[in-house]
């Protein structure tokens, strides 16, 4: 079968899934919605605005015509103009999404590092105090609402200490020219060290907050897979070959137990991006979460729907990337055949 065939098959499935999710949002916004025109226009819209909305979304046409235009608009990234921000929605997303991606990828990296480390540590200390401590810690962070984590960090580390309580950077500084959209990277490219430092410092608390609420996913799966792998005969074979316990554990066992972790990377991404809706709100970080909460508060429906679609597409794409990564690491998936 080979890696290429596998990738093509997976990519095809992902495209189907994306089309499916877009259709699902259509069903929700055009068919399930009690009064689509009012939903799209917002509750305080005037009659002329509503007329405009009906025309814009072809709400007076049969459903399949509506679907046709909806799909065309979505896949040409034409999400209309935001009634609240007064800008094209695609421009808004272009501005806000990279900021959230920057935040989420940093948070995810931290999540994976903490998760893999604590999971492997707990497995190596199974049923001892270290194991109980790790499990207690992730039970706590798993059960605590994201907003409470953010508030606790803000209260203890910002108000009582030196870290900035919110925003993306010192508001007195001008934003760097958008090149990649990732503001820290843009600051670097511009050589704007003051802004770069300021934005990094402002990232610390939201990144920790996001990592805290999501690392449990990784810890849990890492711990159980490491426990399973440590009992396998191939780890024993490695030990019997005389490679030494360290190589047996950190090369043979760790690599094998990381495989299940790859499968939850996309889940972690979905989890951090949902978490960042709340976290960004609390830290006044103006990214996608800010955009979503603003559009919720101000009945800016086109922005909300477009944000949802874009985020869902990214989740599907990350899932695809994780699947491919999984195949690269695990020859049983990549090459198929044989017993598994």
């Amino acid at each position: 079968m080979g890696l290429l065939g596998y990738t093509v098959r997976r990519a095809f499935n992902s495209v189907l899934l994306i089309v499916g999710t877009v259709i699902l949002t259509f069903v929700l916004t055009h068919i399930v919605a009690p009064n689509p025109a009012h939903v799209w226009a917002g509750p305080h819209a005037s009659a002329t605005v509503i007329q405009g909305v009906i025309k814009r979304y072809h709400l007076d046409a049969p459903w399949y015509v509506q679907l046709y235009y909806y799909l065309i608009d979505t896949f040409t990234l034409d999400f209309g103009v935001s009634p609240y921000f007064g800008q094209p929605v695609s421009t808004l997303i272009e501005t806000f999404y990279p900021r959230t991606l920057e935040l989420d990828f940093l948070a995810m990296s931290l999540t994976i590092v903490i998760g893999v480390f604590t999971g492997a540590f707990a497995a190596a200390h199974q049923d001892r105090i270290g194991d109980h401590a790790v499990r207690g810690f992730y039970l706590l962070t798993w059960s605590i609402p994201p907003f409470l984590v953010a508030i606790i960090l803000q209260y203890f580390l910002a108000y009582k200490w030196i870290l900035p309580p919110g925003q993306m950077a010192d508001p007195a500084l001008a934003l760097p020219k958008p090149i990649t959209g990732l503001i820290t990277v843009d600051a670097l490219i511009e050589g704007n060290w003051v802004f770069f430092y300021s934005s990094l410092v402002h990232l610390i608390l939201p990144v920790i907050a996001l990592a805290l609420i999501s690392f449990g996913i990784i810890t849990r799966i890492m711990r159980s897979s490491m426990l399973d792998v440590l009992k396998t005969d191939y780890v024993r074979t490695a030990i019997m070959k005389g490679v030494g316990n360290r190589r047996a554990v950190y090369l043979h066992a760790l690599k094998n137990s990381l495989i299940p972790v790859i499968t939850v990377i996309a889940l972690t991404f979905a989890y951090t991006i949902a978490g960042s809706v709340v976290i960004e709100d609390i830290f006044s970080y103006t990214g996608m979460g800010y955009l979503i909460t603003q559009s919720l508060e101000n009945f800016d429906y086109p922005t909300l729907i477009a944000s949802t679609i874009v985020i869902t597409i990214s989740v599907v794409v990350i899932n695809l990337v994780a699947d491919i990564l999984y195949a690269i690491v695990d020859p049983r998936v990549r090459l198929g055949g044989g017993q598994s």
């Binding site: 005969d233 191939y234 024993r236 005389g242 094998n256 020859p331 090459l335």
Partner: protein, 347 residues
């Protein structure tokens, strides 16, 4: 008093009075009790018993693979003069690979699924070379790995070397384990049911190969199996385990030809090929039970010849002919034996 080895030759492995208990929530469960045996150079010792008899525990104990937290060990395991129970981990790790190696039951689980076959053999070669401070380039080591694969008669060895374990058959994987053993050239090879997961034809080939390797390299083997027929086809001596205790040990011809212990007799009678001309296949009645195991003969609850005396205490291991056996029927004078089970079994 061990077995009928010449005392001038120091055995490769000497197990003395080994007891192993598994810790569990309700207390400890005995897995091995007062087990003593030895293996000398170039000898294949078969360890036979049903599941739960303690044979895998013995293998893991000898290789120091038992989890320290879950087990309680007492007694002695002396391998080439090293105390395998009390030695430092670094010392045991120095023996692993070059002096002692182990092959496991399921060939699909005993090789790392993420590594190519050659890399796994090269890893073994590297360990050996590092110890003998020889210097090998990677390509030399790979060439050697392919040679070992040819030695275990894997067709298209250089192609197989590039594959991953899941792409090969069970027989091929087990041959690769043997190739690894060849690369390490250990003094003692522990084989834990190495052919159980294979089909009969492949089983015979792998057994023949193992025998050939032993003849060539003079390594000692502890061959663990539940199948007395397999043990008979390859082993020099056979030890029969039941309930964590050694019940009978002796040269293969003696154990198979003149079995003394009723359990051994039962095992022989349940080998299909040996009894097919005599009508029915006889299975040993009942199930293994832990009840009262430290007070009575472990086999008494299932033994067709059990007498009240069997429940009076644990019989001691005594010498009968070429074998040693743990049965009350032999521990007293021969004329007091009511029934001689060996007559029935050898017929």
């Amino acid at each position: 008093m061990l077995t009928n080895q010449k005392l001038t030759i120091e055995p490769t492995l000497r197990v003395n009075n080994l007891s192993v208990e598994y810790r569990s929530k309700g207390g400890t469960v005995p897995a091995l009790r007062n087990l003593s045996l030895s293996i000398s150079e170039g000898e294949i010792l078969g360890v036979v018993g049903e599941s739960g008899s303690g044979k895998t525990t013995l293998a893991l104990g000898v290789t120091n693979l038992l989890r320290k937290k879950e087990t309680k060990l007492s007694g002695e395991i002396e391998f080439l003069g090293t105390d395998m129970i009390r030695a430092k981990l670094s010392e045991i790790n120095r023996l692993r690979g070059t002096e002692i190696f182990m092959i496991f039951q399921d060939p699909f689980l005993s090789l790392n699924p993420l590594m190519r076959v050659k890399d796994q053999i090269v890893e073994a070669i590297k360990v050996r070379n590092r110890r003998s401070s020889r210097n090998y380039t990677r390509s030399e080591a790979e060439k050697e790995a392919v040679e070992y694969l040819e030695d275990v008669r894997i067709g298209d060895a250089s192609e197989v070397a590039r594959r991953y374990p899941h792409q090969l058959s069970g027989g091929q994987n087990q041959r690769i384990m043997l190739a690894m053993a060849l690369a390490e050239k250990p003094k003692l090879l522990i084989a834990d049911e190495p052919t159980t997961a294979l089909d009969v034809t492949t089983q015979a080939q792998v057994l023949g190969l193992l025998k050939e390797i032993v003849d060539r390299t003079k390594m000692s083997v502890m061959f663990i199996t539940h199948d007395l027929a397999v043990a008979g086809s390859i082993c020099d001596r056979i030890a029969v385990l039941y309930g964590g205790m050694l019940q009978e040990i002796g040269p293969t011809s003696s154990v198979l030809g003149h079995p003394k212990h009723p359990y051994t007799v039962g095992l022989i009678q349940s080998i299909p090929s040996k009894t097919k001309n005599q009508g029915e296949l006889e299975a040993i009645q009942g199930y293994f039970t832990l009840e009262g195991i430290d007070r009575i003969c472990a086999f008494a609850p299932r033994c067709p010849y059990a007498r009240p005396a069997c429940r009076a205490g644990v019989p001691s291991l005594i010498r009968v002919d070429e074998s040693e056996v743990r049965c009350i029927n032999y521990s007293q004078m021969y004329d007091k034996v009511d029934i001689d089970p060996s007559e029935k079994g050898a017929s």
